[in-house]
Each structure stands twice: as C-alpha cells, then as structure tokens.
C-alpha cells in the first residue's frame, strides 16, 4: 500500500524528456573555427609608438577589381530557409489528485508540465536552458586553465575563477586576458573576440619571478 503511494509520489517527479534537434540548416551557418593561443600574445614591452596608422597602398588594380566582383552581395528575390527542426518527447506520471500547475490545454505554454515545449528552448527565446541558442552578437571564449581556482581578469578587472569561466561570451573587441594562479604564476594574452567565433585559449603559466 505504502509502496504504491511512494511509487505514485516518485512517479510525479519522473519526467523523461527526450529532445532531438535534427539540425540547424540555416544557410548562414556560423563557422565555429577555433584557434589556440600559441603565439597570439604580442610583445607589450617592445611597443613602438612611432607611427599609429599604416599608410594604404593602392597598387593592386587587377586583384581588387576581381575581388570586388566576387564580393558583390547577391540581390534578388527573397529565399526560404529551413531553420532549426526541433522534436521533443516526454513522459509524465502523476498520482491521482496531483496536478502541478494549471492545465491550459495547449501544448505550447512554457510551464505546462505535461508537455515538453520545444518553443521554450528553441532559438525563439534566449537564453536556452539546453544550450541550443547561441549569442548571435557575441563571440565565445573557451578558456582552459589549471588550477580551476586561478583568478581570471579581463582588462584588469576581476571576472571570476578559471573553473567557472571555462566558457563565456564577450562582445566583439580586444581584451587583455590575465589568469593568475595562487602561487604567483601569471598568464597574459591579448585576445580579439569576433562575433560568432569561438576562441580557444589555453593558459600556460609563466613561473613566478623571485624578486628580492
């Protein structure tokens, strides 16, 4: 008897969700090319402030005209693209007398427990709890640094620990990324974030300098 009651209560908590994204088939699919840190860091100490701007050169007529023809944006009739295809499935078992929240009778209400609502986590809303939604106007930084307790600074401002900032989004721009470990070793790199691009940064700590 009590077993059945427990089973019923447990059944109320069981929600099996299965979500299959068939794929984002947008024509302008973003390229998530990554690049590692390597030699990206520039030499701050060797800064030369003699000339701020480079002079343009105008001696490539053939290549320029060819390129401009290729770069001409296509203007024509509107096209139709297939966007994200989302399929969801769920199972809910509730004991008699228990209904979590009002039942609206419509499958698309976000808080309807009886049905996984694909719209709620599709690209029509943000942020997504499942992670299907990207940040169309930001760039992604994938930071790999050990130990996870190392402090991360962006433009000299504390941003958090490396363990919690393995993956974050930034507006396009140049940033001074500094990762400082507890033993005094520091990693510094100037990063350039572009919209929709993933930037992989592997922090290699420099040994702490022993200054007397």
């Amino acid at each position: 008897m009590w077993q059945e009651a427990v089973r019923n209560k447990l059944g109320a908590l069981v929600l099996v969700g299965l979500c299959v994204v068939a794929g984002s088939l947008r024509a302008s699919c973003q390229s998530n090319s990554t690049h590692e840190d390597g030699s990206q860091s520039t030499n701050k100490t060797d800064a030369h402030s003699t000339h701020a701007d480079a002079k343009p050169s105008a001696d490539q007529p053939a290549q320029t005209s060819k390129a401009s023809a290729a770069e001409k944006p296509s203007k024509g009739k509107p096209h139709m693209h297939l966007g994200t295809v989302t399929v969801g499935a769920s199972y809910t078992r509730l004991p008699a007398g228990l209904l979590a929240g009002p039942y609206w009778g419509y499958g698309f209400y976000p808080y309807d427990l009886f049905f996984y609502d694909p719209f709620y986590s599709s690209s029509f809303s943000e942020p997504s709890p499942i992670g299907f939604v990207d940040r169309p106007d930001k760039g992604e930084v994938l930071l790999e640094a050990k130990p996870g307790s190392a402090s991360v600074y962006l433009n000299d401002a504390y941003a958090g620990t490396a363990g919690k900032l393995k993956h974050f989004w930034l507006a396009p721009g140049a940033y001074d990324l500094t990762v400082a470990a507890a033993d005094g070793s520091v990693f510094h790199q100037r990063i350039y974030v572009l919209t929709g691009k993933s930037l992989k940064v592997r922090a290699k700590f420099a040994a702490p300098t022993n200054e007397q």
Binding site: K55, T86, Y103, G107, F124, L194
Partner: protein, 228 residues
Amino acid sequence: MKLRRWLIAVLICATAVATDAPRGTVPKAAADRYPAHVTQDGIAIGATLLSASDVRHIFSTQVNECCLVVEVALYPQKDGLVEVSWNDFALRVVGQDIAAKPSSTAVIAGRLYRQAQPEQNPHDVTISPTGGIGYESGGIDPVTGQRRPGGVVTSGGVGVGVGSPSPKPGSTEADRRTMELELREKSLPEGNTASPVAGYLYFTIPPKKNKKYQFEYSLNSNKVVLPL
C-alpha cells in the same frame, strides 16, 4: 592650473596613441632563425611566409581569406639606426612582373568585413518546424475538479522568421574595428629603431598552392631579395 590640465590632456592623448600603435611581435634571437634571411649594409633581415594554419593559430581575424602574411624582422647593427617603412617592402610571385606592396590594416579589415556580409536578402524567410509527443498518466484537473484521463499528447508548430538568422563572424561594425585593431597591433612597427623589431606585413595576394614567392626589401636604394 591651466598648464596642469593641458598636461593631463596631452598625457591621455599620448597614452591613447601609444596603446593603438603597432606592437609587432617578439623578434627571434637572430635573423638566421627565420627561414629566409640576409644581411646587407650591417642590417640583418629575416622573413617567413605564414602558412594558412599558422595564420589561423596567430590571428582571430581570418586574414588568410584575402591575404598572404609575412613575418619580418629587422636587426640593426650595433649603435646603428634603421628606418622601417612599409613602402620599402614588396612581395612578388616568382615569374611575374607585378609585385604587391603591403596593404593597410584598414583596407584589409574593410575587405574582410565586406566579404563577411550575409548574402541573404533581408526579406528572406526562415522556417523552423517543431513537433513533440508526450504521455501523461492523468490526474485531477484543478479547474474543473474532474479526473482527467491520461494519454498521448502531441503538438506541432512552425516558427517563421524574416531576415538573416544570425551574423557571420566579422560581419558587424564592431568586428571590423576589432579586426583592424588586431592587424595593426601585430603589424611591423614603422619608424626609426635602434633595436631589433619584428611584425607582420599583409599582402593582398590570394593564397595559392604551389606558387613561389619572393620578398623584396629596398635598403639604401639597393634591392634585397629573399625567396620565401
């Protein structure tokens, strides 16, 4: 008091200019560490043509889509001074008459920005179909108070969006500024220098396989040629 304000203003401007200036890269220990190197009139020059994978590792900007990138290092002789000017460098495809001078970072950033513009019409329609299936065991409906039988619940829908779905990398104005900044900061610094200096030069020559290039440097009205 006025003088002090002026000094502060000048300091701020100088700092802004200095942070925006090319920084270049760290020169290697000697010019012979570069695949192509030569010494003339006491000035050692080292150069290397970056491969596509090198460019991808070094730059966030996809500069290899339009340009060839050459890393150049200049080593003035002791107590000597060398004037670095982009105008003294050129890249030539072996066997061709036309040589390309380094392109300005603003031009390259603008070109990449234009290439990244979405080709879609702003009136394009994007369709996102959704479907779902669920099963519920039933319960008491709090609205009607009656027991609601369980069963299979299905639903479907179609989302329709008008316009380009999302911008491509490098397609926004902020991206253009960032690309220009990155290219400028990593470029070969111009001006007089008494210490070794290194940086990248960008040539608007579409990368092609099996092409041989030669790097030319005009030094005191003498042409130095480095096969890359």
